[in-house]
Symmetry: C2
Subunit: 266 residues, 2 copies
């Protein structure tokens, strides 16, 4: 436990001084973070690095490092690279007081720098072209050291507002949950799209239903929001539906219907 | 084919006269339709009917019929009852020029009135308590007779703006597509919720991702919007994820992952 005076002192330090950061990576997350931190007066982007420097051409007014192990001293180095590269990249970052990665699926321990470690995971689906509204992006932060956590929180608050403490175990599960509600949900949209397409129904007919389904669970637990033939055990409609589907679609229909029914029994 | 003068005449008739309607049913759809048509000057709600009249207590200033086969003459009787009741209800409606049902899964032929038939299907998920914005609800209309179709279109335009001609075959497929993008998607949300809940992660962390996933396909075909371990054939992450799940969740994860991968091969 820290003494109260010590905590206060840390807070004062954090607000009184510029937070000096480096951002490593040339992908979507790196780009969006650089763009977001650039206009923030409390944050100084000391240096950038990407394995392929041309990926950073958009930011040619900022200092670009030529090698990882010669990077300047910073408070936080944000490693926004692919999971497989986190280990090798972090090993070379000797001038950062705190090194954080941005991955949903990599543990804290995948960082192999000699200094302190943390995670700065943004749970949102990014594409390079589309502007990100960071006020709506959950920041999932982890740092074993409370001062480091406070620093990451201050950094996150400079660009966002939804900030959560999520440890490595929670993040593992959060990441697989995200696959269900994002990748798999999108695949169900694709099946809906394929069905519509085959029978000359414009997919846009389903857009409002898709929007409403997503909007509903902002206020209602998904189980309470459930409707449809599986929920009400309407075997006649289920059989009618199965007869309309391809074999692959049938398997998915049957498994999800069974799963909804199982849920009812619990 | 109708002559142009005839079509024009129909249009004039439709706009010059009040459309007289009856609404049959005491459930969600009947309630929302009654509320929507009530303030429309071009539409007169001549009578209502529900098997349990107390379901219509909210509308006690409107005429409530006591028996189906004594209902007054109307242009359109809207049968908003459960699929199983459409046949028996429609048989008794002898005073309606056009009888339509509101079901996504029942064929036109499930109507057994002696006069003309049609479908007035609203593709949205309704709950009694929540106000419906009809301007965002797709109206899926069907009527073999072109005059009837024009009448239904005029009626729909009184309360909505997204109007589609969808025949019985298309509606069958649209209905099963809706199960995928609504009921099954909601079930994936439930799995995400269960996973979060078990590891003390607030489900709201996933809300923005759920919103973004739904928003993305308003402008992008779902296949182009797909990301994640299945799409990029990231076997290592897939195995890590499978190890975190219950048996039932594993089956769903595996099947949807295989299906996303199959899609890639096409």
């Amino acid at each position: 436990m820290q003494k109260k005076s010590q905590i206060l002192l840390n807070k004062i330090n954090i607000f009184a001084y510029m937070i000096r950061i480096a951002i490593i990576g040339g992908g979507n997350i790196a780009h969006h973070l650089i763009r977001a931190f650039l206009p923030v007066p409390q944050v100084e982007i000391v240096e950038l690095y990407a394995r392929k420097p041309e990926q950073l051409s958009e930011f040619n007014t900022l200092p670009i490092a030529h090698s990882l192990n010669e990077m300047k001293a910073v408070d936080v180095a944000i490693v926004a690279v692919s999971d497989d590269a986190i280990s090798i990249v972090s090993q070379q970052l000797n001038n950062a007081r705190l090194v954080v990665h941005t991955s949903g699926s990599a543990d804290l321990q995948s960082l192999e720098n000699s200094q302190r470690k943390g995670v700065f995971y943004l749970l949102q689906s990014f594409s390079k072209a589309k502007e990100v509204d960071f006020s709506d992006v959950p920041f999932c932060l982890e740092a074993p050291n409370p001062d480091d956590f406070a620093l990451l929180k201050t950094l996150a608050e400079c660009i966002g507002s939804k900030i959560y403490a999520i440890n490595s175990e929670q993040r593992r599960y959060l990441h697989v949950a995200a696959v269900f509600v994002n990748n798999f949900t999108n695949h169900l949209y694709k099946i809906g799209y394929d069905i519509c397409n085959r029978y000359a129904v414009p997919f846009e007919v389903l857009h409002p239903l898709i929007g409403e389904t997503a909007a509903k669970i902002q206020n209602l637990a998904p189980e309470s929001a459930q409707t449809g033939p599986a929920k009400r055990n309407d075997e006649k409609t289920i059989q009618k539906h199965l007869n309309l589907l391809t074999q692959e679609q049938q398997e998915i229909y049957q498994l999800l219907t069974d799963s909804i029914r199982n849920g009812k029994k619990l």
